[in-house]
Symmetry: D2
Subunit: 324 residues, 4 copies
């Protein structure tokens, strides 16, 4: 039994629940537990370390996090520079704009709604949330006004998607908006699949009459430069999809550092996707090491959990630690 490397083992200590626990105390307790609890606590530790280090932090957002009520947390992460670069889906931007324009998302009692009836009522469903279709009418007017505002020379010469998201943010007055917060904090927002959203649909309608050029590849220059110029890099991935891959592939093109290190130095992934179907969304962070997307010695953890539960918990704990 000598060969048992006991030093690598850490005793599981059962968590006790206190009288009116702070989130940070709870997470400290989870740190002595295993399974998801232990992984969540590890994510907090990694995030805390990322914030202490001179780390450029990339946030990937997929899944309908804005409709679920995660908009303020993400805006807060941007404003407090918990993240330095955002890569997201078009849908999260669309729903951020909808809220910024004064419309709302609503919870329905049960996920098993009658969707044909909802259609008749003009309510569009996202799991247990609905959006009134009027919100999309206001969105359309807003987007049209944005496209009109774009500088005509540049509109002809071409915008990057990241420039487009910036102009949208500049025209939103709601300071809780993700897009507006990103402008205020000089955090670039990338959205490689922007065509795959209402923004894409309205851009198409606009282009029927007026010129509007947005290049599919131009964003990569800025994103790759940010990665290459960073002494240290971290990725926080919420849910997989295009944002996950788009962030990680950046590391493929970057030359290794002087230290010989390659890939991201830190990675946190919060997802309910698992590896068994072979898709990238559920791929382990270990797999990313075979590609050089994540460094061989990176600190990395996947928390298998609904992001609407894990993200608030992690950010609340990290914030508490930052103030101590």
């Amino acid at each position: 039994m000598v060969s048992r490397k006991k030093t690598r083992l850490k005793e599981v200590k059962a968590i006790k629940i206190g009288k009116d626990m702070s989130v940070n105390t709870l997470v400290n307790g989870l740190g002595d537990c295993a399974f998801g609890a232990g992984r969540l606590a590890t994510a907090v530790e990694i995030y805390e370390e990322m914030l202490k280090e001179e780390t450029t932090k990339f946030l990937g957002i997929s899944g309908a996090l804005v409709p679920a009520g995660m908009r303020n947390i993400i805006a807060q992460m941007i404003r407090e520079r918990y993240v330095d670069v955002v890569v997201t889906t078009g849908a999260n931007l669309v729903h951020d704009i909808i809220e910024a324009l004064g419309d709302h998302h609503y919870k329905i009692g049960e996920a098993g709604a009658d969707d044909v009836l909802l259609r008749e009522q003009g309510m569009e469903r996202i799991y247990d949330v609905v959006v009134p279709e009027e919100a999309f009418a206001r969105l359309e007017d807003f987007l049209r006004s944005i496209f009109d505002k774009l500088d005509s020379k540049s509109r002809d010469k071409g915008y990057t998607i990241r420039e487009l998201t910036k102009v949208i943010g500049e025209n939103l007055s709601d300071r809780d908006s993700i897009l507006r917060s990103a402008v205020d904090s000089e955090v670039p927002i990338f959205c490689p699949a922007i065509a795959d959203s209402m923004i894409g649909l309205h851009a198409w309608i606009y282009k029927q009459m007026c010129p509007l050029k947005v290049d599919a590849f131009d964003d990569m220059k800025e994103l790759i430069e940010i990665f290459c110029e960073s002494a240290c890099t971290g990725a926080v991935i919420l849910g997989g999809g295009v944002p996950k891959n788009f962030i990680f592939q950046t590391a493929l093109i970057a030359p290794p550092r002087e230290t010989g290190q390659e890939g991201f130095d830190y990675a946190i992934q919060i997802t309910t996707d698992t590896p068994e179907n072979g898709g990238l969304s559920g791929a382990t962070l270990e797999e990313a090491k075979s590609w050089g997307k994540i460094g061989a010695k990176a600190k990395a953890v996947t928390v298998y959990c609904d992001a609407t539960i894990a993200l608030p918990l992690i950010i609340a704990a990290v914030r508490a630690r930052r103030r101590q």
Copy 2:
């Protein structure tokens, strides 16, 4: 649009993360969110209501919650009568005894351990936890001593499984033990599949030499009586399996109340199993209504989440509310 029953809709309000938030404040914030966040907050509300009412609360435990560090929470729930009846797997009892006897579970760095090497090292793995095999040797000695202590007349006449779990609890001095806490708090522990555990294996070895009769069906009488005598009933189901069904089927045999109500009045399910494979573990609580296991008007919610994250969060929030 008149037909849109706006009264049923509740606006999603995005959560903001405060400076050093308490768990309860966090959960309050999640209550305005949707998806898993909203469901978790609903679970807290239902639990709080169950504790205010004269509700008999049944706890179902499956999954390796004790190895993961959830032992103290469960013991605490028993001691503070957050639960009145426990139905569990044999494995959780085995690992509770192991801890009570002074042995420990250990976290390994990564889930992807070399299992053949672990075998050589005498370490038995449960996801990212290992148990040294010496712990099982001590368990064997302890169980043998328990079987010897059983009253010889009763041993011949027959014990119920619930009586057996009680005797085990009486012989554990660790007050953090689930089994011991249950004895101290007069909470019965049922374990219908007890044969499917190390307790079963050692009972079989013991029975090679000495008589030991434990009836497979005798527990049902007590469990059903508890259900029938309760004015109001609630189920807290961690993870599905036999405990989930064993608790719910109790309601099938009970006559409807004077009020005409049948089935459980409250139900909280924390699981990562989803309904699509048709198995009972992932079955919705709605499905249980078609059987009369859960009342048509019951307050019920499923939180799709790793129980090692959701359970501490829910109990911490409920405890904070109870003290206000």
Copy 3:
């Protein structure tokens, strides 16, 4: 690149779909593919090898496979001795009896039925299947008649669960029944959590008036003896739960063979449960090696797939190969 052990690598060859393919040809094609396709083909290869060898084959069944229409396949596997020992949940036995007594399960159009309405209509739902409650009335009469038929001396002395399942099978005339097929083919059916089923409920009712002793632990002797007497052993696990663990734990108690080998020699697991929540149902077969439940050199594969799709596919392919 010399160190790349190319010999271990096998080229992925894309499957082509033929004109009117046989299942076996399809599975052959899947064998050159990866992910679930490759794993399914490996399961077929392992099963074929198990059938060629002098292997004692243990089948674990959990999940509602009988209501979903897998009853005949399982009965067929028993009759053709694709399996030699069965461990199952009580629910699958209950639904096998219901069909054997002439009642049926029905598919509903959608999983999202109105369960309160179904309750009023006397239909009990299992995902997209319903069972009329009359079927349970007939089940009750049948079970009562079975308990009455049990030899009074033995009824007092005590039955094993496996003896009880045998008596039930003897009293069913439907040759497609799992229970009856097991009797006809001398395949023992174990059901460690039998109390957790309608059989358990009706046994409890019966015991209110008449003696009926069924020991919780007595089955283990026969099961362990079968394992120990086998030169070679294989496990086919459909879906996890108690049957999975009950089969694997048998290997814990058995002494190593003369060859030094321990644990199962073959294992096939078909499940939609994944390892991330730490529960035994989703635990990998690798993990089982750390316990000695599966041999270090065993041939083992997990197919992550709904068993109602994978099982018919696998059995059809194995049968085709056996005839060639």
Copy 4:
């Protein structure tokens, strides 16, 4: 019990496995079963009906289906016009090109490979598949040659992504290639997130020196026109992600038909994602009805299954039926 609409219920009939079954006979048998089996059989029926009708069929592909060996099936579906429009991820195109250039994907024995070692060996992992990094060097040369071949005027004026995929296909000689088959069969391939792939990375490198304009939004015109001009539409969605939404959102912009119908008339979704996390990948097809993406009366089914198992099975059955 009069109110029980028995007419809507269909008896579950257990499948029997024949001597050397054809896939079609197997699927016929599954059609009388429930859960995944029943849903898979329904998918075959819907596909068969789509092929009989004058239906424009949109195929969405996400997940690493090409590395897993599904390349030929997809190419075959294109060549035999089982699909008329393809929307895919960049990764599947990249791996299609890799195979077309003569490189291969390889299966490794176990998913739990040592990724740091694989990195040293120049093998990049996708679950249980690896790709040698030399393949990516050849890919780079090929893509550079493609970019050079683009007409210089158009290169300056701007290509659509769909035009780019066409040029790539025209330059591949492998007739089993998805891209080449699409050219041969005049099936357009859209790839809205093309920047999120090696194609994107190499486009970026190329653009450092030479002009190359590819508009992010220009594809939508063609895609929406195809939808609007179709008398009847069907969607076959493999795995969610951007392709799923990009196909469905097309229906949002199209005016209702003369018949008053809106949205897709048929939809088949094969996925392992479930709805509980609220993301679009796992969203039900019912939810899509609330948006008008799928018609209220559409024939639609989701098969919860690894696509590498379900797709070959479905296509083999459909092909067999088409020939009868």
